[in-house]
């Protein structure tokens, strides 16, 4: 009950902060054809599936994609044709995920899915996407299925690269010898990511320990005590922001800040989270981020802010998933604008998406690409931040990770000419 209260209060404070977060820039949005004329042609149906229910809200990607497509539609659409963006929420329910996936792909006949963010939908619908020849340009993925299927490509890194990125920094800069990877025991999520964390630690001659908890019965106190019992020197918070902050609060109550080094992948990097964490953690919490800093002066980041300000809805999330959804929608739109508007169908869109190679954005550290492959992970380099002076400061700019998991990805990049 105490944990639940913590999670609820953290969520409420974060939600309130989203609504009051000030805009970072006031530039006019730039979208698609940028003609200033509303598109009036035959709509192009595009789908999106998010997971918005306890224990996490993964709707940031579809929120931002919806805002970007609204902006595109107000600026000429896809050569005159507006995008009809249909978003479904799978509520973290595998059956519902299968149902809404079928609805979008078979009944609605969407040409592609963009901005997807769900822990269960990708696992359930990967085969459907492949069988039906439809591509999903996801933005908020957290399970292996997102990165190990031919018809899914995600703009966000997911827990594996971001977590290893955080550990790499911890090993190199903080002197980590034994890290505990604390995650949820969700199929192909916590176990998958933490297994690769442990392999990474072994490759460096260090030790890694997985501590996985039941997502339906979160007990943060016992997880904290388990980490103490394991004798680790570093805790990797492989969790959504709510439970991660809850665990920080447990450590704070028990005076545990200095018992461990604290590192985290992206989820805890959210607007407003700095107000929740408090001074206790100043200089002690390190976070690897998958996309650019929220206040980055890059053109795409500023455009993301402008699009969300003008076309986003009240209460839309403005987190990393949102940045990811925005840039996914932009890459998708750019690919479609190269097609003959009259002949756009699923086959031509799938071909166009697979033809994306070397797209650039200041939101990403490396080039974005899709290509013909049985797996995709175009984004695997990130930045490291530290919580300091009531905000996050960059302590290491774009850096890649070294893990055998990326061997097939690096081979693809070489074949596509992304790297030499």
């Amino acid at each position: 009950m105490k944990n639940l209260t913590k999670l609820l209060s953290v969520s409420a404070l974060l939600a309130a902060t989203y609504i009051t977060t000030p805009a970072y820039a006031e530039d006019a949005p730039v979208c698609g054809m940028n003609s200033g004329q509303a598109a009036t042609g035959d709509p192009i149906k595009v789908g999106g599936i998010n997971g918005n229910a306890p224990p996490g809200d993964f709707s940031g990607g579809t929120d931002a994609a919806a805002a970007y497509f609204a902006c595109v539609n107000a600026n000429g659409g896809i050569n005159g044709r507006p995008i009809e963006y249909i978003v479904e929420n799978d509520q973290w329910n595998p059956e519902l995920a299968g149902q809404v996936g079928t609805k979008l792909v078979k009944d609605e006949g969407v040409v592609a899915l963009v901005g997807n963010g769900s822990v269960v939908s990708m696992a359930v619908n990967a085969k459907l996407y492949k069988d039906e020849g439809v591509m999903a340009m996801a933005s908020a993925c957290a399970i292996s299925d997102c990165y190990e299927n031919s018809n899914i490509v995600s703009t966000n890194q997911g827990p594996l690269p971001s977590g290893i990125g955080a550990l790499k920094y911890a090993v190199e800069e903080l002197g980590t010898e034994h890290a505990a990877c604390i995650g949820f025991n969700i199929p192909n999520n916590g176990g998958w990511a933490c297994d690769w964390m442990n392999k990474y630690m072994e490759s460096k001659g260090k030790k890694g320990t997985s501590i996985l908890m039941d997502p339906t019965a979160v007990d943060l106190n016992s997880v904290y005590l388990q980490a103490l019992a394991e004798g680790v020197d570093t805790i990797l918070l492989m969790l959504p922001s709510g439970p991660a902050i809850g665990l920080l609060k447990v450590a704070e109550e028990q005076g545990g800040r200095d018992q461990f080094k604290w590192v985290s992948p992206t989820p805890i990097y959210e607007p407003g989270v700095e107000k929740v964490i408090g001074d206790y953690w100043d200089g002690h919490l390190y976070v690897n981020i998958e996309l650019a800093q929220f206040d980055s002066k890059g053109a795409d980041n500023k455009n993301w802010v402008a699009v969300m300000n003008k076309y986003g809805k009240e209460g839309d999330r403005r987190d990393t998933f949102s940045q990811s959804g925005f840039i996914s929608a932009k890459f998708f739109t750019d690919a479609l604008l190269k097609l003959d508007a009259a002949s756009i169908d699923r086959a031509s869109v799938t071909k166009a998406i697979k033809g994306i190679v070397g797209a650039k954005s200041d939101l990403l550290c490396g080039a974005y690409y899709v290509g013909e492959a049985d797996r995709h992970m175009p984004n695997h380099a990130g930045r490291m931040m530290v919580y300091k002076n009531g905000g996050f400061e960059t302590v290491r700019d774009c850096y890649d990770i070294d893990t055998a998991y990326l061997d097939p990805i690096r081979a693809q990049e070489k074949a596509l000419g992304i790297t030499k």
């Binding site: 929420n89 509520q91 973290w92 329910n93 595998p94 059956e95 519902l96 299968g98 149902q99 809404v100 079928t102 609805k103 078979k106 009944d107 269960v120 696992a123 359930v124 990967a126 085969k127 292996s144 299925d145 190990e148 299927n149 025991n185 199929p187 192909n188 176990g191 998958w192 297994d195 039941d214 997502p215 339906t216 019965a217």
Partner: protein
């Protein structure tokens, strides 16, 4: 009572065949999936009805048993080359055994205490499912690997979702028939006598222990088959589909649907899966269904102990009687 092919039974058979052939043609892809899911959970509700209607016992572990059936089918799918239907039956048999095992406390308990024990068992299964996950093609006994789930074989003629729905309708019809036949045979008579008075049943020579175990095994068997069908429908299973709390909801909906007629189980399954999907499709929160379920349960307890099925059948028979009176 021997099974006779009289006009009523023949009509029912023709109706079932017509539903199998025509029903999937009327539905879009979304609703094919939703109805498939609803019918699968109708089987689980049928299992609840067997134990509650026949023996007056409350079993709150039915959703966990669905998970057990699904686990067995997935394990067999990745470990053997057995046809889907064989795996389905084996899943039903294994789950029947576990269902019978759960009946052991039932031999000494009734009412609230039995309900609590079975609920705790469901909680234990929930923890096991979360801790060990469902097989996805990995090595070892648990068959779990950090990889995308493999393919779950379906019957050759049921590769498409529409044909799989036909397969599920057939399976549901067969299970309803088997459960219905039990009611007219020796187990049904033994259950009826036991429900009235265990002491009298024993005095009459009924092996109460054996028939209680049989009821729980039968209930577990249909739940296991439901789990196998669910695994075939989704091509994988997730621990979040088998929460202990859902067994309470399913029990409540079995009461709302009506436990004394097979139609009640179908209604319970439709309420359990179809109503939330309808609300979701209308853009409303599926949680509204819980409010509706609560009101429906109150209505059933206060005014309709036979459930919606009882009310429907009552209405149909009263129309029939009026028709006969008019003819006279």
């Amino acid at each position: 009572m021997p099974l006779r092919f009289d006009i009523k039974n023949t009509f029912t058979l023709v109706l079932v065949l017509a539903v199998i052939v025509l029903f999937p043609l009327l539905l879009s892809s979304l609703w094919v999936k939703v109805v498939t899911s609803a019918l699968i959970f109708s089987l689980a509700a049928l299992g609840v009805s067997v134990v509650f209607a026949q023996l007056g016992l409350i079993n709150l572990s039915q959703i966990a048993l669905v998970g057990v059936g699904g686990w067995v089918l997935l394990r067999l799918n990745y470990a053997t080359e057995l046809p889907f239907t064989v795996m389905l039956v084996l899943g039903g048999i294994v789950t029947a055994s576990i269902g019978a095992l759960l009946a052991l406390p039932a031999l000494r308990m009734r009412g609230l205490y039995l309900a609590l024990v079975t609920l705790m068992a469901a909680g234990a299964f929930q923890i096991l499912f979360n801790a060990f996950q469902f097989p996805n093609g990995g090595e070892g006994f648990w068959g779990v690997a950090q990889q995308s789930a493999g393919v779950v074989r379906r019957p050759a003629f049921a590769q498409s979702d529409a044909n799989y729905l036909r397969y599920v309708i057939s399976a549901v019809a067969i299970c309803i028939t088997v459960v219905g036949l039990h009611r007219y045979a020796a187990p049904g008579r033994a259950w009826a006598m036991t429900r009235q008075s265990e002491a009298n049943a024993m005095a009459a020579g009924v092996n109460v222990t054996f028939y209680k175990l049989w009821a729980f095994a039968l209930s577990g068997c249909v739940a296991g088959i439901a789990g196998g069908l669910l695994a075939g429908a989704l091509q994988q299973l997730d621990a979040r589909s088998f929460l202990a709390g859902d067994s309470i909801l399913l029990f409540a909906l079995a009461i709302v649907g009506g436990v004394y007629h097979w139609l009640g189980a179908i209604i319970a399954g439709l309420l359990f899966k179809l109503l939330p999907a309808l609300l979701n499709d209308f853009g409303l929160s599926a949680d509204i269904a819980m409010v509706i379920f609560g009101a429906a349960l109150l209505h059933a307890i206060m005014t309709a102990p036979q459930g919606i099925a009882g009310q429907l059948i009552g209405a149909i028979s009263s129309i029939g009687k009026k028709g006969s009176a008019t003819d006279d």
